[in-house]
Amino acid sequence: MRKQTLSGMRRQEGFLGWLFVAPMALGICIFQIYPTLFSMYISFTEWNLLRAPRWIGIRNYVNLFTEERYFLKAMSNTGVYALGTIVPGIALGIVFAILLNQKIAGRFVYRAIYFIPVVAPTVALGVLWQWIYEPQFGILNAVLKVFGIQGPAWLGSTHWAMRSMIIFALWQGLGFNIVIFLAGLQSISTEYYEAAEIDGANTLQRFLHITLPLLSPVTFFMLVTGVIGACQDFVTPYILTAGGPANATLMAVMFLYGKAFREQHMGLASAVAYILFVVIVTLTLINFRLGKKWVYYEEGM
């Protein structure tokens, strides 16, 4: 039998390793890295897909902030939407998770019911809520009318459209938040609560000084993923309002989509994508930086 040296065996194992990851690595290079780099190049060009791209330097980026009337509106709408869905979403998720963590009859049924909107297609839910919000014969205004309240044109009013969309997003995402926080709650050792009870802590004190701190890693995760998801949301505004009325619910990705596929300005759309990328990365880094101050891990207690 041929003897192999240690370095030869290592080389052979390394080669085998690369061989097995090659298909995946090739796929990542072709379908992720290459399009990302190509998109970066396109963001410095003017391109309508019908002719070759024309290099224009940073003009797309400058135009977005100086000439495009609705880019900053789209970004600010995205910020409002993110704030409106993340903070209440986390708060409601914690509250409902605590409620559903109690040993009550039928709690598994309640958990399933809350999770249904998470698994249902967003398009179907969007159409459903269009009917709910319908100003003339939707169920929401019909219920309000019983109490003598004239409901607004929810999705047709520039004042109410974004609020309506946030309500829908909170409703749709609640089930997912509950499940995640439920898992977090169930991972908290009961010993802390027993010790606190012995020390005379009431329910609120146990919640503030045990539950919340020990849930902070989960909260941090929900915050980071929530920011990323909210900034990238496209289906919700596309189905509910198509960005209207009068761009009241126009969000960054919808703006990008319109520039690319309605107006054939691929360069401008790519520039929007990279600006959005920078914004999301910046917010994520800020989250991680601030997280060091308020996220507690159990081993640190």
């Binding site: 090739l26 309508n48 019908l50 319908e134 003339q136 209207g244």
Partner: protein, 462 residues
């Protein structure tokens, strides 16, 4: 000593085999029939027709809705039966926006179809980009009866280099219209009867519409006289043009949304909601048209709604000529036409022309008309047959209107949706919230001018 077939050896062989299979799957396809043609022939010049020694293969592409795919399939089957030397591969995409995204991607990838559904809003940018084949010589050489087509329909597919809009008489033909869609003015007879109001007549003016609307409207019962169309609809132009206004100057260099006729028409629509209160405030309708659901007594919308309105069973409805402007007497309707065009990269010019001329010609039009899918008013004999069908009883009023007074719609110029997408939102906000419409129109005009200037700059780039 022989080496055993170890697990390590097996894994090595499996890894090499998997990598090889992946590389084989990713190998580029052999060149197909739609490689870009050599740019040697001049604009509009027709390639020599090859002898049909073998089957010619074409790719036909279109967007689809409802059962349009089945209808088009049926028409193409007829064509193939009459032209056994041609095979047609069909590509249908469910949504219009998705369709154009796909076409643009195919063009960028060098694999556009041979013949495709056209769009008047894309004509200038597509022709300017050099991806369409001019069919002027093909039309002239084949004797295609283009003179029988409505001028407003054909104008959408004429374009001369350097023009920002289609329609110039000296321009080449870059496609053929498949239909000529104007507006319909439909009314709910039951709602008119309940209110004791006489049905619309050919003498109706805008004022008669308002008067009837006031008599019919009962907001508490969610019954309204008229449905104001969204800006994306009325910007096609008919209201403004009936009132004698123009959105832009004749040379397309100056935005004129603040011209008296345009201001009057937009303000009139706004007043229907907030002053006369005969129209519901614009809300995003979920899944049904308010006219179809019996909430609104009158609607003025695209003729393409006839196929859907024909399914109404809850009430009786009919059509009338568009109400005239009270001062100018105009009841002008706009014409917009889907159509067909040939991509310049086709390797089968003659076969593509045969398919396209069949679809746009009398035979294809008659078949599509039978299937209730297009308004084939390009050819009077064919068109009249579609318009005499019921429901409704007076469907032919829409054809009378188009023939009497029609004009190519406004949505045909270069960068149309970039310009309108920027300038219409202030007006949309005024309609949504009932705020100052005059200020909104002025803001719209300012933005339109800026965007028009940018469109010209882009057009004039090489």
């Amino acid at each position: 000593m022989n080496e055993q077939f170890t697990r390590r050896t097996f894994l090595k062989l499996a890894g090499v085999g998997a990598a090889g299979a992946l590389l084989a799957a990713c190998a580029p396809k052999a060149p197909g029939t739609t490689q870009p043609a050599e740019p040697t022939k001049a604009e509009g010049e027709v390639a020599a027709t090859p002898a049909p020694a073998e089957t010619k293969r074409l790719i036909f592409s279109s967007y689809t809705w409802s059962s349009f795919e089945a209808a088009m399939g049926s028409v193409i089957d007829d064509f193939v039966a009459a032209n056994p030397d041609i095979e047609v591969e069909r590509q249908f995409v469910p949504q219009t926006e998705d369709y154009w995204a796909k076409i643009q991607t195919q063009v960028a990838g060098g694999t556009p179809p041979d013949v495709g559904m056209s769009d008047y809003g894309h004509l200038v940018s597509y022709a300017k980009s050099g991806i369409l084949l001019s069919v002027s010589d093909l039309v002239a050489g084949s004797g295609f009866p283009i003179d029988k087509m409505l001028p407003g329909a054909v104008a959408q597919y004429r374009w001369a280099a350097g023009d920002i809009d289609s329609g110039s008489e000296g321009g080449n033909l870059w496609g053929l219209p498949s239909d000529a869609q104007g507006q319909l003015f439909a009314y709910n007879k039951n709602m008119f009867d309940e209110a004791g109001v006489a049905y619309p007549t050919d003498d109706w003016t805008w004022n008669d519409l308002v008067a009837a609307g006031k008599a019919i409207t009962n907001a508490d019962a969610n019954k309204w006289g008229f449905l104001v169309p969204p800006s994306g609809m009325w910007v096609r132009g008919w209201y403004a043009w009936q009132a004698g206004g123009e959105f832009v100057s004749a040379d397309f260099k100056t935005a004129t949304f603040t011209s008296p006729g345009v201001v009057e028409s937009i303000k009139w629509l706004w007043d229907l909601i907030y002053t006369e209160k005969i129209a519901p405030p614009p809300g995003l309708q979920a899944a049904t048209n308010p006219f179809m659901s019996g909430q609104v007594a009158m609607t003025l919308d695209g003729i393409w709604w006839v196929a859907d309105f024909a399914t109404i069973t809850d009430f009786e409805w009919d059509m009338a000529m568009l109400p005239k402007h009270p001062q100018t007497g105009s009841r002008l309707t706009t014409v917009e036409s889907d159509g067909w065009w040939i991509y310049k990269s086709t390797q089968e010019v003659e076969a593509s022309w045969r398919l396209m001329s069949y679809l746009a010609g009398e035979a294809g039009q008659a078949k599509l008309g039978d299937l209730n899918f297009v308004v084939p008013s390009n050819f009077p004999e064919v068109g009249r047959a579609w318009y005499t069908r019921t429901p409704p009883e007076h469907r032919s009023k829409a054809l009378d209107n188009i023939v009497a007074e029609s004009r190519k719609n406004f949505l045909t110029f270069f960068e149309v949706w970039t310009v309108l997408g920027a300038c219409l939102p202030p007006i949309d906000a005024a309609f949504a919230d009932g705020t100052d419409i005059q200020a909104a129109i002025e803001e719209c005009n300012t933005v339109a001018q800026q965007e028009l200037d940018k469109a010209w700059e882009l057009l004039n780039q090489a």
